[in-house]
Structure formats: C-alpha cells, structure tokens
C-alpha cells in the first residue's frame, strides 16, 4: 500500500521525509506531503516523520555523491520554493536517476515530469534570489548595523546570505524574511547564520520603528533623486519597468517609498 510521509514545510523536514521514504523497500509507492497540505487518498497510509538534521544531512550527502554537482544545486534550490509538491518531485527525480545510464545526468532528463518540475522550481527560486540580490535595500541603523526587509515567495535567505557575506565582509548586517519569519544575520568578520524568529519576539520586532542613523536619510534622498533623474522622459515605459521590477518588491525598496 502507498505510504505518504508527512513533514514540516522546511528543507530539513522534506529531506527527513525523503530519508524515511528511501529506507523503505518499496520506494515506488512512497510520497512526501507537507503538514497542512495533505490530501487524503484511499488505500494509503500516512506517517508523521521524525525530523532531524542528521537525516537531512544524509540525504544531502547522497544527492551530492550520486547525482553530482548540477543536480545537487538544482535540488537544493528547488527545496526552497513554496510549492507544496516539491518533496514528491525531488523524491521522484532521485528515483528516476537510478533508471538512467548515468545518474549524474538526471537534470538533463527533462521529459520526465518530476525532473521537469524540480528544474522549473529551481529556476523559479533562482530567479527570485537573483532579483533580490539587486533589490534588497539596507538601511543603516543607529550604531551602524545594516538592516533589510524582504517578502519573497521562496525561502531565498540561504541564497542571499553567502552573496552578501562575500560582498560586505566587514559590515554587521541582517536581512529579515517577512514571509517565512527568518533572519539572516552576519557579524563583521564571521560567518552568516539563519535564525527562525520566535512568535513572541516578533511582536517586539518592528523594523519600521527602528531608529536609523543620522546620515541614512541623506543618502536615501540622494538615491531617490538619482533614480528619478536617470530616467529619460522621452522613453518613459512604465510597463517595461513593472515587467522587470514587479510591484511586490517595491514596498521594501528605498526608491519607491516616500522619505520621511
């Protein structure tokens, strides 16, 4: 009988689920479902997965070793997406890899629906992360800490944090992901960490109320002025602007918010 493993909506959860499914003899008949997105089926048993980092790390290593770097990267990105079916797609991709001659070429096998889905999800996450590498706006708080807020569809912080660590190694900065209630925090000269916000501390944490530094407003004004001036009025094309820079990003960007 088919067995569906229920796990939490996180990379650790999904990989733990895959760990359990993989251990089972009859993998063809396994599925991964996210808690809260379970659609009951007939002739199917459900099991809640006991999640932990060791299980997730084991799956991580297995993908890296058997499917190679490309697939590893695509899967690590796909798992960050917001699609509830991503666990199934990843499991399906891993199983399909055993049936082709060279499992390291699994991501080229785009005619397989699961592989195609992982490819598509990874592309979506990658695109959002790439866009945000540009659209993130830091504000300097009193005391010099740089602080940014984003509201992404996917859990892009693990993609963004290494980028900004590389770029701003000597700054203290943090990025708050409002959709998933996560922080990426970087202390000057150290490695970045991602932390989940506790419900209780979120109440207290309201970025809009944090006090910005003396010169912050000055640079914000200069930047807004620059963005306005650089546009050529004879070529105005708001539609193209919206195509490249969708409205959902704008509430958190300096040049689209009013300076107080």
């Amino acid at each position: 009988m088919k067995k569906v493993y229920i796990c939490s909506d996180s990379a650790t959860g999904i990989f733990s689920g895959i760990y359990e499914a993989w251990r089972r003899k009859d993998q063809q008949d396994s599925g991964i479902a996210l808690a809260g997105h379970v659609e009951p089926e007939l002739f199917c048993t459900y099991e809640e997965v006991e999640e932990n980092r060791e299980k997730a790390a084991a799956v991580d290593r297995m993908i890296c070793r058997h499917l190679g770097g490309t697939a590893y990267q695509e899967i690590s990105q796909a798992v960050l997406s917001d699609d509830p079916g991503r666990g199934d797609a990843i499991l399906g991709t891993m199983m399909e890899a055993r049936h082709i001659p060279d499992s390291r070429r699994i991501m080229e096998h785009l005619t397989h629906p699961d592989v195609e889905k992982v490819f598509e999800l990874s592309r979506r996450v990658g695109a959002e992360a790439h866009a945000l590498k540009g659209f993130v706006r830091f504000r300097e708080l009193k005391g010099g800490i740089l602080c940014a807020v984003i509201r992404p569809k996917s859990q892009v912080l693990p993609c963004l944090a290494p980028h900004f660590e590389e770029r701003l190694p000597k700054e203290n900065w943090m990025i708050y992901d409002k959709s998933h209630r996560m922080f990426a925090v970087h202390e000057s000269g150290r490695r970045w960490v991602v932390v989940w916000a506790e419900e209780s501390c979120l109440e207290e944490f309201c970025l809009e109320e944090l006090e910005v530094s003396e010169q912050e407003k000055r640079y914000e004004k200069l930047w807004r002025g620059f963005c306005e001036t650089i546009s050529i009025s004879e070529r105005e094309d708001k539609k193209a602007q919206a195509q490249h820079l969708p409205f959902r990003f704008r509430p958190y960007m300096t040049e689209f918010s009013q300076g107080g």
Partner: protein, 443 residues
C-alpha cells in the same frame, strides 16, 4: 558658461546624473571577483540589476559624469559647450563617498564614470584616474567599475586606468566617419579608434601575462564596449550592422550598444524635430540582430542586404530570415544539430542546448518543448516532432507569415496603431521613429 560654486551635493548629483543618462550601457557583467576579505564589494559574472527607472531601463551602476564642463561642441550632446546649462564637477572624494555609501546599502553594483572634457583629454583622464585610484586603494572598493577612455588622452594614462577598471568604453558616437565629421566636429574616427585599439592590445598582452602569472594584475577584465547613436544620421540598418560586426571582429569588443537619438538640442544638422519620439523599435531590432551576431552564428549579410537595407517592422530579424529561407525548414527537433536549432524562430540558445541534452534520454514532444522554454507559437511553423508538424500548415512564406501575425504575435504597439493591414507584409518599411518597444538594456 554658468558655473555655480555653492551647489549642494543633491543638486550636483542631479546635474551630473542628468548629463550622464544618455549613455546606454549600465551593465555590470563580464567579470567575477571575490572579495579578498579586506575591503568592500565583489563582482558577479552575470551582472546584477539593482533597480529599473521609469523608462524601463536597468539601473545597475551609479552612472555619473565627473564633470559636465566640456571643450567640445558635439551637436547631439546636452553638454556641448555652446549650451547654456549649469556646469559643475565632482571631486574624487565626493565620488568615493557616494559610491561606497550607495554600495553598502546595496543600491548599486558599482560605478560608471564618464566625463565631459575639462581643459584637455589628458587633464580629464588624470582626474578620472585620481578618483578611481582612491576608490580602489584607500576605500578598498572591489565592486564593478566601468569607465570611459577619453579619445586623445595619453596612452600611458589610459593603460593605468585600465588596471583599475573592469570595463572600459570609447563611444563610437555615430556609425560612419562622415556623420561624425558633421555632428562632432572636434572628434575624428581615428581619434576614437586609437584608444579602442590600445585597450584591445592591452587586454591581449594581459591575457598572456595572466597565463604566466596567475596573480598578475588584471587589465579591463570585463572587456570593452562602445555605443552609437541611431537615427540622428542617415545610415541604414545594414550599414550599422556591418560596422557592429567589424567592431566585434577587429576590435574584439564585448558589446556594441545602440542609443535611439533623443532630441535635446536644436541644430540645423540634426533631423527635424517631430512628435514621434526616439526610434525605439529600430533600436530594438538592432539589439535583436546584435544578439544573432553574438550568440547565434549569424552574419550581417545574412540578415540584410543592399537591396533590403532595413529591418522588417513586423517580424524580428530571425523570424524574418527564416521566412525568407524556408528551404532550411522544417527541422526535426529530435535530430537537428545545435547550430540548426539555433536558427529556428522561438528557440533560444538555452532551450537549444536543453533540447540537445534531453533528447538523448527520450523522444521530445511539443509539450516537452514548451516546458523547456521554446516559444511554440513562433516555432511550430518551422519544426517537426517525430516527423509531424503540430498543425497542418501550408508551407509558403505568405501563409506562415499570416499565421504568425494571426497567432497573437506581439506587434509593436505603433505598428498596430498605423494599421498593419495597409502595409504589404514584406515591405521594406523606412523607420520613421516613435515605433516604441520595450527597453532592453538588461545587463
């Protein structure tokens, strides 16, 4: 000339941004650099867009002039010496502070520094060098820098600047030497090509150095680019494409940019002012053709000819080429080689490479192609899957063209306004201007 001494930083930035905005390139691609742990900044190979302005163009770099004072009198330029506008200059310090503070907040990917000619080319190049030197050494800036090589400046100066910058550019300004003579009397083709050749040779030498010593300083690692103004002078698209092609071949340029002429000055030598606005569709078609040269192994002579010197308004250059060369089509996607696939309208270089890989593991269907990013509504007329076309189509130029137009192929909005039925489909339409399309200055 008006020079105001007491401008605020805000006003200065405003003036020197406004004066720089007609420069096209705002790309930050072509090189990747890791931070060495001591300073600030890094470079991504693909480049990063940080914002988009109201004209739909990407903002990636802090694009400013060092000064808008200029000893030249180029008729198309807002900064020509005979224009009565407020003149001002940055100091190297101001440029450094602005760049560093903007970069920290992730507003920008780096600096694009251009300049009017203050006193002499050498003097201006010296100032630019001073600013970049300070930015790279004292401030420890490791982000992207695009800088102009000033025609006429000393070769040693240009060389020194090249070791601080990621990309250099010299603007060709206009497609032909004759046009240049009329509109930019102080510039000559030779003066412009000299620094271009200098940078090219410098890059070549540097490549050999780097092969020997991996840690040798890098000279203009993101390559050089140029731009020319489209629509201010009477050159045809064919002439422009030929110039572009030879720039890629003979000067090893990374990019050639086109800039639709915007009326900023009144001058008898410029085209008469009209309500049509800048020739944006023409610019768009040129960029499409430029992609075909760089990524799709096309040659200018295949796309245009003396008899047909301008691009079709209705179809993009690749589609237009395919319609005229039906003898190559339809191609079988499960067999055709990579280069053949590249020539199919609706198949890009990424989807072509996906197709070549995926078909080793299974036979491709139309559904699969769609998922791989092929634009089927354009491609269907030119391909078969397992020997079958998706729909039965009468395989003639006329019928495919009508199908393409009927299938909701996105027409440039101005073409729709002028009622395209009145045009014969393959008329060689002279571009007026005002045929607007998307700004496509992506990185």
């Amino acid at each position: 000339m008006r020079i105001q001494e007491t401008l605020t930083m805000y006003e200065k930035l405003n003036i020197l941004t406004d004066a720089a905005k007609y420069d096209v390139a705002c790309t930050s691609s072509g090189t990747s650099r890791r931070n060495d742990g001591t300073g600030m900044g890094s470079c991504e190979q693909s480049g990063i867009c940080h914002s988009f302005s109201a004209d739909g163009r990407c903002i990636s770099l802090l694009k400013i002039l060092f000064t808008n004072e200029c000893i030249y009198d180029c008729k198309y330029c807002v900064n020509r010496r005979t224009n009565d506008v407020v003149r001002t200059s940055f100091t190297p310090d101001e440029i450094c502070t602005l760049t560093m503070e903007f970069y920290r907040r992730n507003y920008i990917e780096g600096l694009f520094l251009s300049s009017g000619i203050l006193k002499s080319p050498d003097y201006t190049m010296e100032l630019i060098y001073a600013a970049l030197y300070k930015l790279r050494t004292e401030c420890g800036f490791q982000g992207y820098i695009h800088v102009k090589a000033i025609p006429g400046a000393d070769s040693e100066l240009i060389r020194r600047v090249g070791f601080l910058a990621d990309r250099m550019s010299v603007n060709l300004e206009l497609p032909t030497a004759e046009s240049l003579k009329i509109l930019a009397p102080h510039k000559t083709r030779k003066k412009i090509l000299t620094p271009m050749r200098l940078v090219q040779n410098g890059m070549e030498e540097n490549r050999q150095e780097l092969a020997l010593y991996r840690h040798a300083p890098r000279f203009v690692p993101a390559g050089q680019s140029t731009q020319m103004i489209i629509g201010a002078t009477p050159e045809s698209d064919y002439q422009i494409m030929q110039v572009t092609q030879s720039l890629y071949q003979k000067f090893d340029l990374k990019r050639v940019f086109f800039s639709a002429f915007v009326h900023v000055n009144e001058d008898a030598h410029l085209p008469a002012r009209s309500d049509e606005g800048p020739p944006l569709l023409r610019e768009h078609r040129l960029y499409q053709a430029d992609w075909l040269l760089r990524y799709y192994h096309f040659r200018a002579e295949e796309l245009l000819s003396e008899e047909e010197p301008n691009f079709n308004v209705l179809f993009d250059p690749k589609c237009n080429w395919a319609l005229k060369h039906l003898e190559y089509f339809p191609v079988e996607v499960n067999q055709a080689d990579y280069k053949t696939l590249l020539r199919v309208p609706g198949i890009g270089y990424k989807s072509a490479s996906r197709i070549v890989k995926a078909r080793r593991l299974g036979t491709l269907t139309y559904e699969d192609l769609k998922k791989m990013g092929v634009v089927l509504k354009r491609a269907v007329y030119f391909i078969t899957c397992e020997g079958k076309m998706m729909y039965p189509v009468k395989f003639t130029e006329e019928s495919i063209a009508r199908n393409l137009l009927a299938s909701g192929e996105r027409l440039p909005k101005e073409v729709v306004h002028m009622g395209y039925q009145q045009l014969s489909l393959f008329d060689d339409v002279r571009f007026g201007g005002g045929l607007g399309e998307k700004g496509i200055y992506m990185q």
